[in-house]
């Protein structure tokens, strides 16, 4: 069985190494500041006890005041999972650090989020539209499109 790690315990551990970056922690998820996503993800991947080697998915949700990105991580070796969330409050030009260097599975998913939601990823090697054609204007999955 995959054990879902407790958000509070992970938040406490992260607080020691990255003070101030965890905004709140839920039952199985932690909410982190958007600037520190890459640093925290790197820590979670490279620490041997945590060893989150597998990124299940990245989803983006448009709540009208902010965009929320949800990362689901799994450790194949230890069989535990964690959910990381981050929010981006800028609606005109949202930017979030990319995690492609850690998990290459994020490549197409981040391109899709850029294409359909309009959230840019800093550090992505090839941020082009993936589902729609180049030259399409607008980001259809946003709540205020149409």
């Amino acid at each position: 069985m995959i054990l879902a790690l407790s958000g509070k315990e992970v938040a406490a551990e992260l607080e020691q190494n990255f003070p101030g970056s965890v905004v709140e922690s839920g039952e199985n998820s932690i909410l982190v500041k958007s600037e520190s996503v890459f640093a925290i993800a790197e820590y979670l991947k490279n620490t041997p006890e945590l060893d989150f080697s597998y990124l299940t998915h990245i989803s983006a949700v448009d709540y009208y005041n902010y965009f929320e990105l949800v990362y689901q991580l799994i450790s194949i070796q230890h069989k535990h999972s964690l959910v990381i969330k981050t929010r981006c409050y800028d609606r005109q030009n949202p930017v979030i650090p990319s995690v492609v260097k850690l998990w290459r599975g994020a490549d197409f998913q981040e391109r899709e989020i850029y294409d359909l939601m309009g959230v840019s990823f800093e550090g992505h090697p090839n941020l082009k539209r993936i589902a729609l054609w180049q030259g399409f204007e607008g980001h259809p999955l946003r709540k205020d499109y149409l």
Binding site: L55, T56, H57, S59, A60, V61, I76, G105, R129, I130
Partner: protein
């Protein structure tokens, strides 16, 4: 005097018999060897995720059929499992067993196409393809008996099924699982030690274990590379923890390993169906679910082991009758991430085989 050569860009275009759908590859070739590859897709993008926000929770089920249009039952199952997780709805026992039976039948049907078209790409042309379609027709007959449809079933519902299977289903299923192993033996006799298949598929398109984990591969692609990760064993959903079955894994991660994983999985699916048929109880097939489902405010991620990999739905609910956000975690899209590095250095004909061995469906990739 040396011959002057230059790289040549070939567009293996969206309309092509070997591309398993509308998939475009811009390949840069040096002679016949591929030196660069750019996959381009989006030709089948229909905006399923946006459409799902306008329909009720039950109304999204036909949309999910059309994601991986070859294996519709498991698409429905993944979505329905996610909604039940979100709304906290439980499913009666008989419905759980029926779900397992239908999902495993779907896995057999999908792997028949996957192996058949892989061999088609290898050059065995349509002989194994049509042999396997002969068996797939029998599975589709069973599905038609149950749901009335041959390909896009729209059969699973939140809370179970709308109606029970007809009386002739279980005798027909019994006949099928008694005869199917001999057909798989027939394919093995022709193919397993076949010189040409071994020469074309062994050592071709190797996906190392660490790369497979890093690109979030799942399903036979991940297991072919040697990682023993199957959601039916690791995080059992429905009643899979009551059955005994093995998880085949490959060793090297080449095309031949992925092919072997799929054939062995077919046999294991037959094993699961046999056990499920013995233990299935009588009873209702749908729990008491309102006509318009209103889950409480919250979110859930539900996933299953679909034939192509881990198919998951991330649902966000705001308390109304339609999902606020429905994000689809498509296995085919993530399995394609390493396509470029799996193909570079091989000739065009090997590249087509490598692409066929990953087994993708464009409906899932583009959504």
């Amino acid at each position: 005097m040396a011959i002057k050569t230059e790289p040549f860009v070939l567009n293996i275009g969206p309309v092509h018999p070997s591309t398993h759908g509308v998939f475009r590859m811009r390949a840069t070739l040096d002679g016949e060897v591929m030196i660069d590859l750019e996959p381009v897709f989006g030709y089948l993008h229909r905006g399923v995720e946006k459409l799902a926000e306008e329909r009720t929770y039950t109304g999204v089920i036909p949309l999910t059929d059309r994601l991986d249009y070859i294996a519709s039952m498991t698409n429905n199952l993944a979505y329905v499992v996610a909604v039940e997780k979100l709304a906290g709805i439980s499913v009666p026992e008989r419905a759980e067993y029926l779900r397992v039976i239908l999902a495993e039948l779907q896995r057999i049907a999908n792997h028949l196409i996957a192996v058949g078209s892989f061999l088609n790409d290898c050059g065995a042309y349509f002989t194994p393809f049509l042999y396997m379609f002969r068996e797939r027709e029998r599975v589709i007959d069973l599905f038609e008996m149950v749901s009335g449809q041959r390909l896009l079933y729209n059969f699973m519902r939140v809370g179970g099924f709308n109606q029970d299977v007809p009386d002739e289903f279980f005798p027909a299923l019994e006949k099928f699982i008694r005869q199917m192993p001999r057909y798989i033996d027939e394919y093995e006799r022709l193919l397993k030690e076949n010189e040409i298949l071994l020469a074309r598929a062994k050592g071709v398109g190797i996906l190392p274990k660490e790369v497979a984990i890093n690109i979030s591969a799942s399903g036979p692609v991940l297991r072919g590379s040697g990682v023993e990760w199957d959601l039916r064993k690791v995080a059992p959903y429905s009643v899979y923890d009551r059955f005994e079955f093995d998880i085949p894994t490959g060793t090297v991660g080449d095309c031949y390993d992925r092919y072997r994983v799929r054939v062995i999985e077919m046999r294991q699916s037959l094993r699961i169906i046999e056990q499920a048929m013995k233990e299935i109880p009588a009873g209702p097939v749908k729990s008491d679910v309102p006509q318009l489902i209103r889950p409480p405010v919250g979110e859930a991620y539900g996933s299953i082991e679909a034939p192509k990999g881990e198919l998951g739905f991330y649902l966000v609910s705001d308390g109304s009758i339609a999902p606020y956000r429905c994000h689809i975690r498509a296995p085919s899209l993530l399995n394609l991430t390493a396509l470029r590095e799996m193909m570079i250095g091989w000739k065009i004909q090997d590249a087509i085989i490598i692409f066929g061995s990953i087994d993708i469906t464009m409906g899932e990739v583009d959504r």
